[in-house]
Symmetry: C2
Subunit: 339 residues, 2 copies
């Protein structure tokens, strides 16, 4: 078999609309441990855009195909491939594989099988946001059921995942979002996902939720905004709490007050999924994480973030929309390569 | 036996010169587990001043005697006292004991014996600065001989202790200080204590010490300044380095850059000796620490910070001098109660 792959490639850093090109290329049958896949769907994540702009610490080898996540269907396997077979759905098991393409040849060990019964959008977005949320909730503080987590950017991809995992794990979660015209609709959406409370940045400044004892003081705060918002979620932390930064949408740094560091023993940490994956690629913890996430997705206890499917040909509009500030906290754009 | 104790007491918060009063009081013979001591020397630490000002999280019960450190001589022991005897030198084993006094009645378990051969200034200042330096060097990063530590406020009491401990433990240490008229004298002093290099804040900004490989990139940065200085020492850290704040002389917070948190995995932490002591009061680690520090002091491998002995009656001048900004990074004032 040979297929014609249509790929979004770039050979220099720049704005995606300027440097991405839709390129056609013939792919031959897979050899040895190779697997030929047909990509069904691949999301556009903020880090993908930053990589193309040259603003991300991961530097691809040119020419490079954009994208890091996808769900794909196995079309054909090489002679030495043992664990994958035709028709099976797979997701990337490594990073930097270039997923914005209709077809690709990967090595068997770069792929992880997932149940074909998992929703397209859920499978296509499983390796970044849900894993980031999972690790941040597990690895910094040992939380017991009933404890509370606070986060800003609650409607980001990770934010939506955090609320769902907290619900599954019997943790309370308070989400902070910016005020907006449809604030009640957004609050309802996040509460439906599992948020215990959703507050605007303004409401957070005067809330008595924690002081009154309605909710236990959080020992974990998650931050993807920085600046004042990061300070405000940090102020709610109990002594010895951990403040974890995984993004910086406001482009402002995290301010760590001296008294919070010394007298409250607050730790200011950061989390980067790419690093964790590199350091734990073949770990038992990673297998356990994917098994648990897939299970939750199959049970419909975990859904993909709010998203829109976009045909590959409309990639320019989609990258512009994803670049938009609102794109970073709102809708996820997923390239749909099924036809 | 009964003695007349002269104590520096305060019954309200305010500037030490306004609220401290020299009070005379008769102390009777010690009962049961009590120990009557004659205080030989007691330093004036920044935290002591902040406590009197009401700016410190530790709130004493009024009327309170100032001071938290001292070296004292046992004058008389109560009937049930087992481990201490007349003539022995002791230091506080707890905090908030009120040491700015000529005599005091303490409980046996509030005191720790130290060798009478340890220098007066060394023994009087053992429980705060050397312990802070010791714990910060031990508890955040497992450092191996040859590794490097960077710190600002290198001429503070803790800073001088850090350089000496690093030398004893075969760690390299780079100290950062503010530029000043006698900068070369200060650099010599700190190098003599054990600093591998001493740089001014300005020199740090353009140094190639670490980039060139002359010194290994530090995995531990100690900060008692905050603001730009905290940022600059943090910038030198290797990936996964830890930035520990134990003071904030500039009154500016620590700025944690989003990229440092996420991509370099730098952790911003704080350390407070008072908390550590409460949490580890009777721990093996604490005994080990004091044994090691006393041993270094006996061997003259660890000396007290630059200091001046001041008679108790001159306490007003001494607290003013200690309050002075330079006091926080320069000379330590020690009340001398021997006559």
């Amino acid at each position: 078999m040979s297929v014609c792959a249509k790929s979004l490639k770039f050979s220099e850093y720049g704005e995606p609309t300027d440097v991405l090109q839709l390129v056609e290329e013939k792919l031959d049958s897979p050899k040895d441990k190779q697997v030929l896949v047909r990509i069904l769907a691949a999301p556009i994540n903020p880090a993908d855009i930053n990589t193309i702009q040259g603003k991300y610490p991961v530097k691809p080898k040119f020419p490079a195909i954009g994208g890091n996540e996808c769900v794909a269907e196995v079309l054909e396997v090489g002679a030495s491939v043992q664990k994958l077979q035709k028709g099976q759905h797979v997701v990337p098991f490594a990073t930097g594989m270039g997923t914005w393409t209709t077809h690709a040849l990967y090595n068997e060990d770069q792929l992880m099988p997932v149940s074909n019964n998992i929703g397209l959008a859920e499978a296509a977005t499983i390796t970044v946001n849900p894993c980031t949320a999972y690790r941040m909730l597990k690895d910094f503080v040992k939380l017991s059921p009933g404890e509370c987590v606070i986060q800003n950017g609650a409607n980001s991809g990770v934010g939506q995942a955090v609320h769902q995992l907290c619900k599954s794990w019997n943790l309370k979660s308070v989400g902070i979002v910016r005020d907006r015209p449809d604030i009640n609709g957004l609050k309802d959406h996040l509460r439906n996902l599992g948020a215990t409370e959703v507050l605007t940045e303004e409401e957070l400044r005067t809330t008595t939720l924690f002081k009154s004892g309605s909710l236990p003081k959080p020992r974990l705060a998650l931050n993807c905004v920085g600046g004042k918002s990061a300070t405000e979620v940090g102020r709610q932390l109990a002594d010895k709490g951990v403040h974890v930064t995984y993004g910086g949408m406001s482009r402002e740094p995290v301010i760590a007050a001296t008294a919070a560091l010394i007298f409250k023993d607050i730790a200011f940490r950061g989390f980067w999924m790419t690093r964790w994956t590199k350091e734990n690629a073949l770990s038992e913890e990673r297998m356990q994480m994917f098994a648990e996430l897939c299970d939750l997705m199959l049970q419909k206890k975990f859904v993909a973030p709010v998203h829109e499917l976009v045909p590959l040909e409309k990639f320019k509009e989609a990258t512009v929309a994803a670049l938009n500030f609102k794109g970073f906290t709102g809708k996820k754009y997923i390239l749909d390569m099924r036809n």
